[in-house]
Symmetry: C2
Subunit: 288 residues, 2 copies
Amino acid sequence: ETSIKTKDKASYKNGVLVKDRKHCTYESRVTTTDHPLASTLFELMSTKKTNLCVAADVTTSQELLALADKVGAHICLLKTHVDILQDFSQDTIDKLKALAEKHNFLLFEDRKFGDIGNTVAQQYGGGSHNIVEWAHLVTAHGLPGDGIIKGLMSAANGRTRGCVLVAQMSSEGTLTSQEYVQGCTKMAEKHTYFVVGMVSQSNVSSDPRFILFTPGVQLKKAGDTLGQQYVTPKAAVLERGADVIIVGRGITQAEDPAAAALIYKEEGYAAYLERIEQKLENPSAVGS
Amino acid sequence: ETSIKTKDKASYKNGVLVKDRKHCTYESRVTTTDHPLASTLFELMSTKKTNLCVAADVTTSQELLALADKVGAHICLLKTHVDILQDFSQDTIDKLKALAEKHNFLLFEDRKFGDIGNTVAQQYGGGSHNIVEWAHLVTAHGLPGDGIIKGLMSAANGRTRGCVLVAQMSSEGTLTSQEYVQGCTKMAEKHTYFVVGMVSQSNVSSDPRFILFTPGVQLKKAGDTLGQQYVTPKAAVLERGADVIIVGRGITQAEDPAAAALIYKEEGYAAYLERIEQKLENPSAVGS
């Protein structure tokens, strides 16, 4: 079996030095990962030239589907909170799946599972939302220990599904200590067959198999009144090591969400290209 | 303004020594707390002589309502996961509220909110489940920082509602470190107008205003295959300092849930009475 040990900026695979995640192209990572969904995601990011995930925080199916259709061409992932939809139905899901197919993006339900394995298995694979049936990726907290991953796996039951562990949060006063982050990273390393990456605010892993997702991205750096703190696309990718930038209100509350998505897509991808180029010119410039 | 400083086993209120939570009767705590829902809960625990919360982890409305009616007379709280109900509807909620009224217990949705304030506000006060409308209490992780409490508060919008912070978990490998627990406790102390207590596995607070809820309680001490670890009612109350014991599979999977609930009710309350008596005979016997 293959194992990767992360040592500072370098990684070793079977004793051979492999590239730091931040220095790898998305294309090269299609084959580095052994998770089929991570492969699919890297492929479409590379083809569509986008690392943009839109957080579709809207409360009606009509708004959700309209937004997905408007921004679909510019995104790699659509992040949902289905439990804020007033009129959730199987019809909404069917239409969402069709839009994901039409525009070639994946569905990412940001459920932030946070219970013991037996409970999350029922929440993921049951209830009225039946998340496992339609969401390619879901978020989960590492807090309960790795029984949460085993629980999600048991509900996935062989489907091509993946989980993203929330290693860090963007909100003020978060309790995600360094020790906590390490606990999540270890959990991810133990379960690479199901965990595709981490939600993070800094460069928590140099392992190219893991995809880092950074939320709270907005061009206008500010916050809200409930503790949210923003970061720009460029800072997310270059300073915090994000592979995927998650943009919510910067796009959903824009007058023209499609135009805004295009701007974020170009900003995010340009930052990624700069990160790769920096590596070629001056490896030491890309610190963690 | 009144403030309580917790110092080992003793508490001081405006400089005056107040009793350790573990040495206080539920009845006396009706007036110690300034949270109306905590008052109501202490009152009904005292009247019904029960500290039992049943975790209703069933997947159909019919099972949920049948269980609530069977165990209702023996419990202070019914803990739900509405998102595992295949057939959730407003009708289910209406009937559940009627049963809560009939048997005099409170509704406790174990949602384990775990997102930033702006998101949890929408999850709590919206979506198809509209939790704030019917659940007296909800659980939340302290992980995102206290914006999560502010977010829930904004959705509660003046309703008599309360939140229970998950300070510790019962599952194997949980990342709730001592530092994490302290972070949650501080958050609770800062927001006593909304936080009624903590989900815990040990005596995390001696402040009589806070209600400690201990899940994973079962008479047969064992575990499941997804990381859950059990504790007996007596150990939960006497050793871990639980005010409320949460029993799931020990009752829901019993042949006669009503009979099982009665046994757990009696075991839990006897342990509580023993805790109070221990205090009178030998204060030092009730360690943390």
